[in-house]
Symmetry: C2
Subunit: 450 residues, 2 copies
Amino acid sequence: MANYDVVIIGGGPAGIIAGVTGLKQNPGKSFLMIKEEEKGLVPCGIPYVFHDIGSVDKNIMGPKPFVDAGGKVVVDTVNKIDVENKKVIISSGDEFNYDKLVFATGSEVVIPTFIPGHDLDGVEYIRKSYNRIKELKEKTDIAQNIVVIGGGFIGVEMAEQLSKAGKNVSLVEMEKYCLSKAFSENICQVAEEAILNSGVKLHAGVKVAKIEGENGKVKSVLLENGETIVTDIVIATIGYKPRVELAKSVGIKINKKGAILVDNYMRTSADNVYAAGDCAGTKGFITGNVDSVMLASTATAEARTLGYNIDSIKLKRNMAGTLSVFSTEIAGKAFASAGAIEHSAKGSNIDYSVGSFKDADRHPGSFADTSELYLKLIVSPSDGVIIGAEMYGGKSIGELVNVLALTIQKSVSVFELVTFQFGTHPLLTGAPTKYILVKAAENAIVNMKM
Amino acid sequence: MANYDVVIIGGGPAGIIAGVTGLKQNPGKSFLMIKEEEKGLVPCGIPYVFHDIGSVDKNIMGPKPFVDAGGKVVVDTVNKIDVENKKVIISSGDEFNYDKLVFATGSEVVIPTFIPGHDLDGVEYIRKSYNRIKELKEKTDIAQNIVVIGGGFIGVEMAEQLSKAGKNVSLVEMEKYCLSKAFSENICQVAEEAILNSGVKLHAGVKVAKIEGENGKVKSVLLENGETIVTDIVIATIGYKPRVELAKSVGIKINKKGAILVDNYMRTSADNVYAAGDCAGTKGFITGNVDSVMLASTATAEARTLGYNIDSIKLKRNMAGTLSVFSTEIAGKAFASAGAIEHSAKGSNIDYSVGSFKDADRHPGSFADTSELYLKLIVSPSDGVIIGAEMYGGKSIGELVNVLALTIQKSVSVFELVTFQFGTHPLLTGAPTKYILVKAAENAIVNMKM
């Protein structure tokens, strides 16, 4: 039996960053990571394996930074945890004693058990596993027709990539619009256009009635409107849920969204036991209510907090809650949001005003690579503090959303933004006379008074 | 004689934005703009007229937003101001009474009178004038060999664009590196590589001894190291100075950098007289000392403050001083800085630590459009507050520098950044496990302790 100061279960972004940060902050302490597969994947890169990256092996993310920092890795499955004796037992029978235990067990796909035919051969899922994605890639490579069920980020990205790869792709989303958890209706409409531009056949606002098969194998998808889509493969991307069985098995408290309950420093209900990443609970940035955010960026922010503070609280965590920052690109058009969006604010009974502006992302707009850039701010009307933002445009969106993420986290108001100083350049941004952040803030000020 | 509530002298970014903002904030008030040429230019777009944009007429910025908001424009030159009687007299003889007067007279090129031969035919300047740039474009179109003197932003951008346009371009900079006012030596070296990649022949660390001519026309440039560069045209871009003769003529106070002295709300030493943009003084963001920043982005931030507060102070200006935010792109590589850089901090006796990180700007880095991204933070070591940042990379730099601009303006510390939440996406940014802002902040924390 080996002894470790810290044992981490899981080797995804949360496990790696908790380990690396913990090792750097606690030189001399011993860290063990137990992970199920030798090779790991960049989770958000998975859809791009199917076209833009082109190969699963070019999307590898292993525990090398953790090993380089002095951590030890064992590839196996945890069978049992003995919290009394602070011990982890793996499938091989080996046991490891820990002083601190970290759950970074991630999430697992939600199986649409409510859809008849979900258990047919040819119904596939996007699992964050090197081996499973490798298998799926082989299957899609030979398929002609593919139906993707679920128009969230992964569903849309998968559909776009498979279409780019020359497949005949149909995307089915039961809500009126795809990506509606991250964007207001007017932005969802622009995204819909981009999805259609990518060649994907979109079926939105309709549910799947059943998946039909022949000899146990998928043959078609029947929609509730009576339409039948003949297909070789179905990829169901209706969601993920925290992987918490192990934690549950030792009596660690689970929140009402099914994730491990944690405090601001990622401490669970059990002494010396921590959790970070998809398996750990989050709370809403504005309401403080139990929320459910599963993003690699969120996971790494949590893991850093965990790593810095695993011995004692050394670094105050500056957070009111988990801020979801989403971004994606569909058919060359980028979309992003941070914090509250219009219908999430409405749903949480948050009073809000909006301010928006549309402009070119170069100046003058006569450069060849110019894209239309649109920004909508969600603002608290009593004090002008920005609580959310939604946007679309060219690739500059990827960092523009982080200007907004910082704005929200620092409670910056639209009044401040108006006199703030930003940089612009013809080849890189819109014009200084109408920098989008300032113009959207000015528009919000006008709307707040109405 | 016509009466106006506000008369603005100048139609560049400062004049336009002061006017538009003032009109929107003061509906019913009358605004007049007096400008020298009918057509205006996007100032920072000027170098791109010579290749990427390709035409002066595609880089037009007129007073349309001001006119649309209800402003009146007169194209003429101001001859005289009578502050006693609050009156402006233009060349045509027309007189306009004002209640408030705004100087937005901009800047003018510095003529290198210390260089023998500067007055030869064929020595040209980058003047922010439609007519003058149109003339210069015609001259460069027929020139084969061009020498650019001065490796600041405009000089470097001009050299790069003229080289792209097929000219044989030599760039002479007396400092060891080009762009050394905006970047530390290690970044200047990367910029130098980009300049060379653009095909420009670089002569750095050497002064021009004289410009040699034949029959009153430029023939060659003699450097102090004895080298002679044969050329058709010389473009001198050694700097700009505030245009303040008019303001001076009526006794308005000028600061020691030669700009109109203003307070936080752009009020000059004379009652009811304001100034914004290149002609107006700035103070250092950290020291509060008299500084000299002439950027369109700065001009518009000042003009917005002026426009909101021209009647009474309505919008508190959130600024400790003028934050210079520079960005550019050379041969496809982008460079940016905000606030203090290493040698400006040293020069102002500011104690500082640095933190840096280098990464791909996509994740995984196997995407075709991946660029190397580098960020250096300049941090106050006593409290970890970020006071400056320098960076290079792909086009995402254009908005990444604005994350930093906001960070500096809100006095965010590296300790906060480490647990802050940012968004990432494979096609748009680096990986969440090593988001550059967080990693550079972590590196700064390590360096601060040393």
